[in-house]
Every structure is written in C-alpha cells, then in structure tokens.
C-alpha cells in the first residue's frame, strides 16, 4: 500500500493504472487522514466523502487515476454552497454543476474529496478566517498558512491530499505555498478557466494548483488547460503539454535574480535562502524591474475598487455579517474615484510593455515569494531590521506586482535557517509556464527545492 500521507499524485495514478492499488482504498485512506488531522489543521471546511467513495468505487483511469484532490471553497461543487470563506454566501443556493477545473481534473481520473478553508472573499494574505477559524500551518500549527488559499497550502503540506486548487489575485497561491513549504503554480492570466468559481477581482483573478512535487504540478496543470466559454478572459490558445519537457533541464536558459525592490524588506533568513538557491542555478544577473512600487500600488487600487464593486450590495444590506477586516477595506474600496482606477488600468498596460522588454533579455527571474517565513497566528506586526512594521500589508509585496501583469510563476520551497520553509518565485514571460516548470524540475532534481514533510 502507498504512504497515504505523502505519496505523490503521479505515484498514486501509476499504482492505480497498473492495478496495484484500488482507487477506493486510496479514497478511504485519504478520508481517514483528513478525519485524523483536520481537527488540528482546519484545512477542510467540507469533506465530500460520499461523492468521493461513489466515484472511486467504479474504478478510474487517466493521467490522474484515483488521485484525491480538494479545492479552495470558492470553486463550485455541485450540491455544496460556494461559501468563498464568507458567512453570507452560506445562504446561497448550491450550484448544480462543478467548476470547469474540477470537471477537468475528474475527467482525468482525479477524485474530489472536499472544499478548503480560505480568507473571507479572498481579500486576505494570512489564511485566518473569522467564521471557520484559521487554517493552521502543518510545520508549526501555531503559525499562519498564509492566504487567501490557506486551506489549500495546509492540506497539501500536511499530507491530506497530494494536489489542491486555489486562486491567486495578488499572491494567494504563492503566499501559502511559501509559508507552508509546497509548490504552487499561478499560471499566466487567462490560462486556466475561472468558470464556476466565485470571483474577487475580475481583472486579476487566476486559478492554479498546489502540489508537493513539480511533476504533480505539471500533471494537474496539463489536465486543466484549454478554452472555456464560461470565462471571458480564458485564452483560446493551446500550447503543448508541459509534462514532457520537465526533463529538459535548464541548459541555454538565461536566468536572472530580482534585485532592488525584491530585496528590500526581506529578513536575512529569506535573503540567504534566496541567494543560495539563485546561486545554485547560476542565476547571477540581477534585474531591477522598472516602476515596481507603482505596479503594486496600481494592483492595490484595482483590487480594492473591483472587489468593492462586486460586494457593494452585500455591503449595503449585510455589512455586519462580514469579517470586519474585510468589510472596512471593501467599504473604502467602494469610494475610490473612477479616474484612479482607469489610470491604474492604463498603467498596467505600460508596465506590461516594460516587463516584456525585460523578458527579451532573460528567460526567467527568481525572486522571494514573501519577505519572511510563516508568522504566528494573530500577529499584527513584525520586526524588520530592528523596526516594528505592520504585517498584513507587507505579506504580498513581492507577489502583487507580478500577478498585476499576469506573468506565470512557479512557487518553490527552499529550506530556511529557522526550520520553517522559505518560498521563491520562478517568474517567466507570459505563456511560458513550461520554462518556469522546467527550472523548478531541475532545482528539484538537484535537491535545491523540496516540500519538507512536517512532524506529526
């Protein structure tokens, strides 16, 4: 029998296809793991056990045959209200169909086992949730998972599922990947369909997978690509699968490391881990992205105003049912003058052009994902260079400017000096997920990046 806590999706699928493992047994073992560990990790908000058992009983085939997975609770699951981390949405009628990406995962043989905790309406970087309680970091359960896809990071790092899906508007896949020490893929904006998911910021929302190996990330990604009429931003372009190129190595790639802004505000522990990993793949050239402070500011303005527009009616009628931290930011967001938002959108096009110029000279840029490792739950400030600064506004400083122009990023875990994982971003040009995944795969082969198994 496989190691139910730590087997990769690829190992499970291979075993199921060869007839060595029954998918029903995999589902039973996964449900037992969730039952044993979720009381501590609080990653799952709904376990779809009956559905999973019924599906696995029939025998499964495909690239993800019998692979259990779970989704951030903003994905539609037929028959389960799409709560998106909120109290208000619990009263919504349950959807009659699964989200596009769930349907594609299951078409490849994967088995949905539940929905995962998240920050309310995805406006969060901590993984804390007022209504469901915080998701807890498997490496130290007194610490944050990061958010907003906190349950996704925690479920994969804690060995509850090999693959989870999440969303990333400003960093919500890359931040929990960093704090929890797992791999995450935020694909190019428009690459993976958002059909059947609860939105946050239409201009910036992305969906993507979490996993403990690069192969699993690639398997899930290849399974989920393709056009979808349900998402107006979803691309029609079809690129070759990435799984076959993971073995190609990084020879001939022009690798750089991010400097300037991406070194400011980081702890010594993060900088050391970043420098060592970048040096190990000879990412010597230091790149300073132009106007990156403004890019982050523009992403902030678009996020708060589009998010507020989405929730305006609920803010009018049910404001007391929001998490106050989310509510107060959204109320302010509703008051943003239109010219600011228009200018931010125009600036996004300018910044896109500037970034594309950089990618004429390099193929990938390595940068930290977060300025620090997972903070303790409830912490409001952190000490940087002897100075106390607010925590929440600083968590996403390195992720926000990148998603602003929709660049693909593979988030990879490296060991930190304190024993907690450190996350790095491998950033590539639009539509070059293949390059980012090749680099991540090479770093994994060389032992530079690895999802560490937490103690239990």
């Amino acid at each position: 029998m496989i190691d139910a806590a730590w087997a990769s999706g690829a190992e499970i699928a291979a075993g199921v296809r060869r007839g060595e493992i029954a998918s029903a047994d995999v589902v039973d073992a996964t449900l037992a793991r969730i039952a044993a560990r979720n009381g501590i990790l609080n990653a799952f908000t709904t376990v779809t056990g009956q559905r999973a058992k019924a599906r696995a009983a029939g025998g499964l085939s495909g690239s993800l045959a019998g692979v259990p997975f779970a989704v951030k609770n903003l994905f539609d699951i037929a028959g389960v209200p799409t709560v998106a981390g909120s109290k208000i949405n619990r009263g919504h009628a349950p959807p009659t169909a699964d989200a596009t990406l769930i349907a594609r995962m299951e078409a490849a043989g994967a088995v949905l086992v539940g929905a995962l905790n998240m920050g309310e309406y995805a406006y969060d970087f901590t993984g804390e949730n007022l209504h469901d309680g915080p998701s807890r970091n498997p490496h130290d359960t007194s610490r944050m998972t990061g958010g907003s896809s906190g349950g996704s990071g925690g479920a994969v790092a804690g060995g509850l599922v090999p693959i989870a899906l999440g969303s990333d508007t400003n960093g919500s896949i890359r931040v929990p990947s960093s704090f929890c020490g797992v791999f995450g893929l935020k694909p190019t904006f428009g690459r993976l369909s958002r059909g059947g998911s609860f939105p946050f910021v239409a201009s910036l929302d992305h969906l993507g997978p979490f996993a403990r190996t690069v192969t699993d990330l690639a398997l899930a990604y290849d399974t989920m690509t393709g056009p979808d009429e349900l998402d107006p931003a979803c691309t029609d372009r079809v690129d070759a699968p990435v799984l076959p190129v993971l073995e190609q190595g990084i020879g001939g790639l022009r690798l750089a490391r991010a400097g300037g802004y991406f070194r400011e505000g980081a702890t010594a522990e993060v900088l050391t881990a970043f420098d060592e990993a970048a040096a190990a793949i000879e990412a010597v050239r230091e790149i300073e992205l132009p106007e990156v402070v403004r890019a982050r500011a523009a992403a902030y303005v678009i996020t708060t105003s589009e998010g507020a527009a989405l929730h305006l009616q609920r803010l009018r009628t049910r404001a007391r049912e929001f998490d106050p931290d989310v509510r107060d930011r959204l109320i302010a967001g509703a008051m943003v003058p239109a010219p600011w938002v228009v200018q931010a959108q125009k600036f996004r096009r300018w910044f896109r052009g500037a970034v594309l110029k950089v990618f004429e000279e390099v193929d990938a840029i390595i940068a930290p994902s977060t300025p620090f490792t997972a903070p303790p739950l409830g912490q409001k400030t952190f000490v940087l260079n002897g100075r106390e600064v607010p925590l929440r506004p600083n968590i996403g400083i390195y992720t926000q400017p990148i998603s602003f122009v929709g660049l693909p990023v593979v988030a990879v875990p490296v060991p930190g000096g304190s024993g907690l994982p450190v996350g790095l971003q491998i950033i590539t040009a639009p539509w070059r997920e293949d390059v980012a995944l090749r680099i991540a795969a090479e770093m994994e082969r060389r032992g530079i990046v690895r999802a560490p198994r937490p103690p239990e």
Binding site: T188, F189, G190, R191, S203, P232, A233, E291, V293, R294, A297, A298, Y300, V301, T304, L312, L315, R316, A319, R320, P324, R327, D328, R329, I331, A332, G333, A334, M335, V336, P337, P339, W340, V342, Q343, A344, Q345, K346, F347, R348, R349, W350, R352, P393, V405, G406, L407, P408, P430, W431
Partner: protein
C-alpha cells in the same frame, strides 16, 4: 489628506453609495481611505500620454 478630509470623503461617498458606516467602523474605513489615496498618488503620479489606452481585453 488630513483626517478631516478623509472623513468628509467617507461621509459624502456613503450617501452617494447608500452605505451605512457604523460609528465603530469609521476609524478603520478612514485609515483604509488614507492608504488607498497614498497608493493612488503613486499611480496618478505617472505621466501617460493621451493615447495610452488600457487593454480592453487584458492579455498577459
């Protein structure tokens, strides 16, 4: 912007948008307006030509 200016902005918009802001929420909303206006100052401080359209359908 001063606290009084931020409060005036908040109160005017609350009327326009039909939002009720409880007394105990006011400080936090005003704080977030201050942060947002500082962010917007960055954005508005960048000179773009009249021809600089956004991407009507955003492409990465």
């Amino acid at each position: 912007m001063s606290d009084a200016e931020l409060a005036a902005w908040m109160d005017a918009c609350a009327v326009v948008l039909g939002l009720e802001i409880a007394r105990e929420w006011r400080d936090a909303v005003r704080l977030h307006l201050g942060i947002t206006s500082a962010m917007a100052e960055q954005v508005m401080g960048f000179a773009l030509p009249d021809e600089a359209d956004p991407l009507p359908v955003y492409r990465a």
